[in-house]
Symmetry: C2
């Protein structure tokens, strides 16, 4: 039973965040100005501080929302009925498409950390959503016996988060597979970042074809050969 005051406060908070997201999409995180956001919503700049204690907190909200939107895109692109290698490439394609559609948000998520190397703990849960999708694909593939690659214990290399996200309840997934999955994940974001940040300008002519090949190679790296 939220009181009327709490409800209007939540609405205003969301409105501020949405205006900030619009400005982020236009000018980027570095140029995001709290005063400009306040102007857009028709408030005094000082009034915004009633809802977000600082500019960094506003950015944190945008980061969490961004992770959620990207995770949602990945989940929507994943069809559990499809073969594993198709699910892998579909999720990769969705991540790349989302990044290209929201370059500034992607840069905020995976580019240089803005607020002085202090990633709030709230963000990590939202950030792992894409990893959960990937873990589900790996788990299903392992259960279906379509995951290549030999096992091998790698004690002390991975942390609890990786085990939990990447195939927690998946028999047939061992540490070696998790390491390769983590590597494929990093590589996917390295490839998307390189394309988005302009490091492939001049080197890659057909970005779509290059990305398709990259996804295929990375899929093979995990063990998802196109059988």
């Amino acid at each position: 039973m939220p009181t009327a005051r709490e409800r209007v406060r939540a609405e205003l908070t969301a409105e501020i965040a949405e205006a900030a997201r619009r400005q982020l999409a236009q000018v980027g995180a570095a140029a995001l100005s709290l005063r400009a956001v306040a102007r857009e919503v028709g408030m005094a700049s000082s009034a915004v501080y009633r809802y977000f204690p600082s500019r960094d907190d506003l950015l944190t909200r945008l980061i969490i929302d961004g992770y959620d939107a990207l995770g949602q895109a990945a989940e929507d692109a994943d069809d559990p009925a499809a073969p594993p290698e198709e699910r892998w490439s579909a999720v990769c394609g969705a991540v790349r498409a989302w990044a290209r559609a929201h370059p500034h948000e992607y840069a905020l998520l995976y580019g240089s950390p803005v607020p002085g190397y202090a990633a709030p703990r709230d963000t990590v849960r939202a950030a792992s959503r894409v990893g959960v999708v990937l873990g589900g694909i790996l788990g299903d593939a392992a259960r279906a016996g379509r995951l290549h690659g030999d096992g091998g214990r790698v004690p002390g290399l991975l942390g609890d988060a990786a085990v939990e996200v990447l195939g927690r309840d998946a028999p047939g997934i061992d540490d070696a597979v998790r390491v390769r999955a983590l590597l494929a994940w990093s590589s996917l974001f390295g490839t998307v970042s390189f394309e988005l940040f302009g490091h492939l300008v001049g080197s890659v002519e057909d970005a779509d074809a290059y990305f398709a090949r990259a996804v295929a190679e990375l899929g093979a790296l995990i063990g998802l050969d196109a059988s």
Copy 2:
């Protein structure tokens, strides 16, 4: 024959750049203040504009210097007499070590682009230095017949820059190898960025061991099996 005026100008320009680099290493690119740099070198802020037309130009200088330093580190780590897979892992390790030693500079190079998506053309030549090292390793490996992987034409996928940098004068290197090399390069920087930007916190316990495995997997991806 540089005149005395030109010489003192070059010295002052270098001094400003060095002070900026010091500040960059401390507070990061986002918080790099031209006025603070001016204070450090004992000048009025307006005087700095005689040497750098804008803050972005100062950052561009730092970017080029950073690419050069990273390229130098990669070149120093490459021993042409060593086996290809050792050269590959040595260069990867040097890149990671440089990134960990200069996190803010690395973020400036490979993080979110700061000056509104406009990468000056001067930076691309400096940026390709690491790629040249990698291309040399691949070329030598191909000439020695130690490069696995089948060929395959991939017309229209790669651009001239990739062909030039990645094994221009190397017989035995075809487009398929170049694509895999480009992918391995992107993946290497994705891995380093994930580690540096905190995306592996909680997922990877032993960062050194994880990176070693990643390098080995990526080496195999290129075709540099540890024979």
